[in-house]
Amino acid sequence: MSALLTDVLQRACESEPLPGDDVTADIVARADRLHRRSAWVLVLAGVATIVIVVLLGYTATTLLLPGPKLPTTAAVPVPQPRPSGVLDPVLAKLAPPIDAKGYTIVPPEPASGPGWRRYAVHDRSGAPRGMVEVAVFDAEAGLCLPVSADPSACALPDRTAAGVEYARYSTTDDVDWQVNQVIARRPVDGRTVAVMATGERGTGSAAAGEPPLTMAEAEAVATDPHLPDAFGVGERCNRPAPSCPILKFPVRPSD
């Protein structure tokens, strides 16, 4: 059967038409086209792979890595100039005389702490004009207002119509360190505030180093009976309070 089948199959091919001209050349040309196509496919596959890897990497990076942190509304860490009157309650009391001069508040770092606030002041041209520091104390038992000439003595306070006791301190002898400071105590609860306006230091000029608040302005701010309420309950700079500003004329609550 095998030989017979082979013969049958061979006979079936006897009607074979003649092959075309240059069969080998045509096959070689086809092989060249295939080769070029394969090379192109290889290149395109490589490019596609790179694109896919890049896209996957970008997507994974975007989805998995945390983005930039949005600033919280609770903190104001950016030392940008801003209108004085829209800041914290303490500044709301302080802002009117500053704004009236066309000055700008720029919070330095650190700008505040438990019981104290610090505000840098710039003039219209952006030049620094010193700073204002406000600190609050508890002095239920009374206060020993310092006397410059005698560290052991206590000064008698002045008193406003609202009953706030206060004392004013000013030092302008050193043009590079001019200070206007007022210490005021609310007798009803002993809450005491110290407002210290310090002119820009090291200017060598009495005018340029002038404190950003005049003594009258500092007195008006410090003796505002509501200024202690601008601080939170429990905020105080009573000793020990290492983070509180060092006042030119320190507050000494009576024991």
Binding site: L9, A12, C13, E14, E16, P17, T24, I27
Partner: protein, 150 residues
């Protein structure tokens, strides 16, 4: 991988393809495509087995909905060969695998294991297909008539 191999194998491969597909034009195209791929194949192993395997794979690919349509060559004398039509008709009455086994074993002269390697079958399966194909082919040849006479 040389042009000499291509020239040497072209005619035989074209005949094998014709027995598989029944169309000289398609057989010619399949054979040229197989040999072109062979020239681009860096690791063909046994060239004969590689080209047979590629050719059989090419024949298996469907071409539309046409089935069992035998295209005679333009040559009037050859085209009228009733024997050719009868054999092709009988071959195409078999399953494609049976047909491939018969062509590879009895036209190409491959051994059982070579046929199995070309068709990716085991030897036992080749033997079974061959037996099945021979029986069916003999029966078909005995009962078939040339196309156009039934």
């Amino acid at each position: 991988m040389s042009d000499g191999y291509v020239t040497q194998r072209y005619v035989h491969l074209r005949r094998a393809a014709f027995l598989m597909c029944g169309d000289w034009a398609r057989a010619d195209d399949l054979t040229r495509a197989t040999l072109a791929r062979y020239l681009n194949e860096a690791d063909a192993g046994d060239p004969d087995l590689w080209t047979y395997a590629d050719l059989m794979a090419g024949v298996k690919k469907p071409r539309g909905r046409r089935r069992r349509v035998f295209v005679a060559p333009a040559d009037g004398e050859a085209g009228g060969d009733a024997h050719t039509v009868l054999v092709l008709d009988a071959l195409h009455g078999l399953t494609p695998r049976c047909r491939a086994v018969l062509v590879l074993r009895h036209f190409c002269g491959l051994a059982i294991d070579e046929t199995a390697a070309v068709l990716d079958l085991d030897d036992g399966r080749v033997l079974a297909l061959e037996a099945e194909g021979l029986g069916a082919f003999a029966s078909l040849l005995a009962t078939a008539h040339p196309a156009g006479t039934r």
